[in-house]
């Protein structure tokens, strides 16, 4: 049971989305703005104050619009769903007895969403893995297994080596990216900013340094303590998992999380691509 971690405490600690907060802000701005326009226009005859009122009305329109674009699923519900999925993965990994780090695979290799491959062997032979160089050149049994979207993957020359192909928090990222990001650090940084700042609201800044095969991703202003994944030793934290999935998509190569460090609200993630 060592790998399984209950995350119910995290679920309880996470506050729910305050429904309609932008509607309330919008209403306040609309009433204040219209009031200011009427008073400034008819009583004070002041153009600057009337303009300020109209600016408040414009802001109220934006607030109403933003309310419509906020996610409908509450964070608490999302956490419950994630917890259920992660418990299942943890149970599988525990049964398999794997201790090797997960390989984050791009969607081009899985012919589906980005996924993570966990080898059963503690020290897998890289050249025989379905993610290794032989995969690229074809003729590898693992290639077929990966593209068949199976959970259990048999690979190696005799097909006796086993691993599992699982979905991670980063697996849904491909649908959030309108197009596959480019492989340069700048393009990866832009894609990560879009996902982590604009879509998930998980950080306030992203910097990508280094060059393939080794990349360092620094996240600043990480907003909240994400719940620990059930098998975090293998998959990394949820944030690292998302970063690795986006990096795998951008580089179009398997990616491994080498190291992950957190200092206050900053997180440094070191990635290696194969």
């Amino acid at each position: 049971m060592g790998l399984r971690r209950r995350t119910s405490k995290n679920v309880q600690r996470t506050s729910g989305h305050v429904s309609g907060v932008y509607t309330q802000v919008g209403l306040a701005l609309l009433i204040a703005g219209l009031g200011l326009v009427v008073v400034a226009l008819f009583l004070l005859n002041s153009v600057p104050l009337t303009s300020l009122g109209s600016a408040a009305v414009i802001l109220s329109l934006i607030a109403f619009g933003l309310e419509r674009s906020t996610p409908r699923l509450s964070p608490r519900m999302s956490l419950l769903l994630m917890e259920a999925g992660q418990d299942n993965i943890a149970a599988l990994v525990e049964e398999m007895g794997s201790h090797s780090k997960a390989f984050y695979l791009p969607s081009s290799m899985t012919k589906d969403r980005p996924r993570a491959f966990i080898a059963a062997d503690a020290a897998p032979d890289f050249s025989s893995l379905p993610t290794g160089p032989a995969y690229r050149t074809g003729g590898q049994a693992g290639m077929k297994a990966l593209s068949q979207r199976r959970l259990i993957v048999h690979y190696g020359s005799d097909g006796h080596d086993t691993g599992i192909l699982v979905a991670t928090p980063g697996s849904g990222i491909a649908s959030l990216l309108e197009e596959r990001p480019g492989p340069t650090p700048g393009e990866l940084e832009a894609a990560l900013s879009k996902v982590l700042l604009g879509e998930l609201d998980a950080a306030r800044g992203v910097i990508v340094q280094g060059d393939t095969p080794s990349l360092t991703v620094r996240l600043s202003g990480v907003s909240a303590e994400a719940p620990a994944l059930a098998c975090q030793e293998l998959l990394g934290s949820p944030l690292a998992s998302i970063v690795a999935s986006v990096a795998a998509e951008a580089l179009d190569r398997p990616v491994v999380i080498v190291r992950e460090e957190r200092h206050g609200d900053s997180v440094t993630i070191e990635l290696d691509s194969l």
Binding site: S51, L52, I58, L61, A63, G65, S69
Partner: protein, 87 residues
């Protein structure tokens, strides 16, 4: 949604500063204020290009509301110049 909050706060600050500056400079024209607001809205929206597609769709729709507003002001100005009618 921290990004949404930042967007709204940035725009509110920019609008307030613009109004104060133009007021100090003695601007008494509606079209000037509105034109500045519109330009600032477009600029700040561009800076927040990383917002999710749903939010960007909403912001684009608001642009479609604001630009015709500028057109109305422009039409009033043209009417004022051509026929001397001030509204």
């Amino acid at each position: 949604m921290v990004a949404y909050d930042l967007f709204l706060i940035s725009l509110a600050i920019v609008f307030a500063v613009t109004t104060a500056l133009l007021s100090v400079l003695g601007a008494e024209r509606w079209d000037l204020y509105y034109g500045f607001y519109l330009m600032e809205y477009l600029a700040v929206s561009t800076l927040f290009a990383f917002l999710n597609p749903r939010a960007r769709t909403v912001l684009n729709r608001i642009t479609y509301i604001l630009i015709p507003g500028f057109g109305v002001i422009l039409a009033l100005k043209v009417a004022e110049i051509l026929w001397g009618v001030r509204l």
